[in-house]
């Protein structure tokens, strides 16, 4: 363990600084002389690349063969950043147009108008013709008629009419209301109703049709007064398996009236 305490008296006591300095100088000169001497004597007589029997070899590694991703070739198309400025466009000398060929533009020739035979005008009738009866109603414009969202079928012994409560649906998809009416009417067996009690009576049945076209929840809206007629109407709806998928909407409610006219 070195003694780290500083004692000035101890330092000045053996003041051999001069002797140490010259010692160090001699040592450095000796080392420098040794290096210079070694360099002078070592490999003396041969140089790199010299045609000698024991010539050294140098391997040069091409940068391009390094297994590194290839460098993108820079496109020198940027006009402003390009190192070789693009040449200025050539200014073509002005050319004068050759004069047009005299036969280039076809001149219209005179065309004779085709002769058209005159149509014989029908001779005016000798006797005054009766005028067709004039409409005695004010004409307010052509209309396609008003669509009532209801479909009525005349049956052999009654009338069946279907009405959709959604009026937009009924007029837009009248064909569907027709199918509903036709299908239920085909399944209405009128002989289930007692003719003595049912003649001239009507029953109205409500039912829903879901998206797939299946009827559900048939209920009697207006009773006819003849229980057998009411029952036959309910059964007509219950017999139907489906009307086909609804063309629009989630469900519709149909009001169906059975009218029993004759046995």
């Amino acid at each position: 363990m070195a003694d780290l305490s500083w004692n000035p008296d101890d330092q000045f006591a053996d003041d051999n600084l001069r002797k140490n300095f010259f010692g160090s100088l001699v040592l450095h000169i000796t080392v420098a002389a040794a290096i210079a001497g070694l360099a002078y004597f070592h490999n003396r007589g041969h140089s790199w690349g010299e045609n000698a029997a024991t010539a050294g070899a140098i391997q040069a590694t091409m940068v391009a063969s390094l297994p590194l991703p290839p460098k993108q070739r820079e496109l020198d198309t940027g006009v402003l950043t390009s190192e070789n400025p693009s040449p200025a466009p050539l200014i073509a000398p002005l050319k004068t147009e050759p004069p047009p060929d005299p036969h280039e533009v076809a001149l219209p020739e005179k065309v004779k108008p085709p002769k058209v035979a005159e149509k014989p005008t029908p001779a005016p009738p000798k006797h005054p013709q009766p005028t067709p009866p004039q409409p005695n109603k004010a004409v307010t414009g052509e209309t396609a008629g008003i669509r009532i969202p209801q479909s009525t079928l005349e049956l052999k012994n009654g009338t069946a009419s279907a009405m959709v409560q959604d009026r937009t649906f009924g007029s837009r998809f009248a064909y569907y209301v027709n199918i509903v009416n036709r299908t239920v009417a085909q399944n209405w067996f009128t002989q289930e109703a007692d003719p003595r009690a049912s003649v001239g009576k009507s029953v109205t049945v409500l039912f829903d049709i879901d998206r797939a076209g299946t009827p559900s929840n048939p209920r009697i809206e207006t009773r006819s007064g003849s229980p057998s007629l009411d029952q036959s109407a309910l059964r007509a709806v219950q017999r139907v398996e489906g009307f086909g998928p609804l063309p629009a909407g989630d469900h519709i409610t149909v009001e169906y009236t059975f009218h029993y006219t004759q046995p």
Partner: protein
């Protein structure tokens, strides 16, 4: 008594519920204690007619030389599909207006809804070919609704050839039938599998529902009978004569080759029948010496016996609606009769009361059984084998073929409105042909010439 069976009997069967009345009429017919009932009528809802549909010739949309022949194919196919659908009153082509509208803007509804066409609905459109493509625009218009006439509009673009022209017509017809026929899909794209007799062999063939496009399926060089297509149209089960007698074999329509079906157990195995979920196959097997009904899974494994009575049990068919009932033919009381039972072999019910009943087919809604029946079977007895339809719940039946020779092997169409069957006008097996008709016996059409037998209508 006002009794008018002629028209209504046939008409009624197209509506399932109508059979109640038909049967009622038949009961009245045969009843000895017939009482005059003044109010009784078989006409249920007289005056309700079918939808009157006009099918216009499509307008050629291009002057390609191919267009004319494709249009001819398309027009005739569409007309035939719609007229054989059984739910329309088709306007005769001679009553149609001269104009051929090709687009909604070109049609004059009043022209079609007025006499003589009197159409309630009009199917029309345009057909053109360009660059090898066939483009069809089809429309269905409600002639009576001038404000919103359009019911349906469809566009098809397919490769331009005769086959695709027929396919497009089938698809458009099916759309119309689906829309106007109560939501039951049309059958114009379905197939019929059948047995073709030729050169001592019988091979399984297939054709479209209208008899077109007949082509061979199997090339086994032996006798293959009773083809039954699976519910997903992927496989055909049939019985084929091999070195160990008749065995159930299976042909894959997806791989176009035979696939394995090992019914096992030996004996003669006949008449396979698919369950509606496609997982089970019922067949008759004589592995115990007596033909009995077995049910195996779809590749022949785990076969189990469901009938156990002395006497042959053959021709099983599943109830396609529920899959939980089997109708079959049993000879336990000497002559073959039609029976039904639950799929586990319980609740056996005999449906026919006599005669000689064969080859049942269960209607897709599960309500009816069609079968061939010779009601006066025996030596010297008059009568022939005809197709009958029976309502399962009530055992009431009607006869749907009359005086056209020997009829056998009925098969229901997937919409339940048609039947296909084998018919031999002179009773000889060689002249058997395949005939389709509406389920009420009307609209009969020959689909093939002689030499075709055992039709089976695909499930969809």
């Amino acid at each position: 008594m006002k009794y008018r069976p002629a028209r209504s009997l046939e008409k009624l069967l197209l509506r399932p519920a109508g059979l109640f009345l038909i049967a009622f009429a038949l009961l009245t017919f045969s009843s000895v204690t017939l009482q005059a009932q003044d109010w009784f009528k078989t006409e249920t809802s007289a005056g309700v007619s079918n939808i009157r549909l006009a099918v216009a010739d499509f307008k050629p949309a291009s002057v390609d030389p191919q267009t004319a022949s494709l249009k001819q194919t398309f027009d005739s196919t569409l007309f035939n599909d719609l007229s054989s659908a059984g739910i329309f009153d088709i306007v005769s082509k001679s009553l149609l207006p001269q104009a051929t509208p090709g687009a909604p803007g070109e049609i004059n509804l009043a022209q079609w809804s007025a006499a003589p066409a009197n159409a309630a609905m009009i199917a029309f459109g345009a057909l053109g070919t360009s660059g090898g493509r066939l483009t069809v625009n089809g429309f269905l218009f409600d002639a009576k609704n001038t404000q919103f006439p359009q019911v349906l509009s469809k566009q098809y673009s397919e490769e331009a050839n005769e086959e695709m022209a027929r396919q497009v017509a089938h698809r458009f017809a099916d759309e119309i039938i689906f829309r106007l026929g109560g939501g039951i899909p049309g059958i114009a794209e379905t197939k019929i599998y059948y047995v073709k007799v030729g050169g001592g062999n019988k091979e399984i063939w297939a054709m479209d529902y209208d008899g077109a496009n007949q082509h061979e399926i199997t090339h086994l060089g032996t006798v293959s009978i009773s083809p039954r297509v699976s519910p997903d149209n992927s496989r055909i089960a049939f019985s084929s004569l091999g070195k160990d007698g008749f065995q159930i074999r299976m042909y894959s329509l997806l791989l176009n080759r035979m696939v394995n079906f090992s019914s096992g157990g030996g004996g003669t195995n006949l008449s396979p029948a698919w369950s509606p979920n496609g997982r089970d196959i019922a067949f008759s097997s004589s592995r115990t010496g007596d033909p009995e009904i077995y049910i195996a899974d779809s590749n022949g494994g785990s076969a189990r016996r469901v009938t156990s009575f002395r006497g042959p049990d053959v021709s099983p068919v599943f109830n396609p609606k529920t899959g939980s009932q089997i109708a079959w033919i049993s000879g336990r009381t000497h002559l073959p009769q039609l029976y039904i039972m639950d799929a586990d072999g319980s609740a056996i019910t005999r449906l026919t009361d006599g005669g000689y009943a064969t080859s049942p087919s269960w209607s897709p809604n599960g309500q009816f059984l069609a079968f061939a029946w010779d009601r006066k079977y025996g030596p010297g007895a008059p009568g022939g084998q005809d197709i009958y339809v029976m309502e399962v719940a009530t055992k009431r039946w009607i006869q749907v073929t009359h005086d056209i020779g020997r009829c056998d092997f009925p098969s229901w169409s997937p919409d339940g409105r048609h039947l296909v069957f084998a018919n031999s006008p002179d009773g000889r097996a060689s002249s058997t042909r395949i005939v389709s008709m509406l389920a009420d016996g009307t609209g009969r059409r020959n689909l093939t010439g002689p030499g075709a037998d055992m039709p089976n209508w695909s499930w969809k």
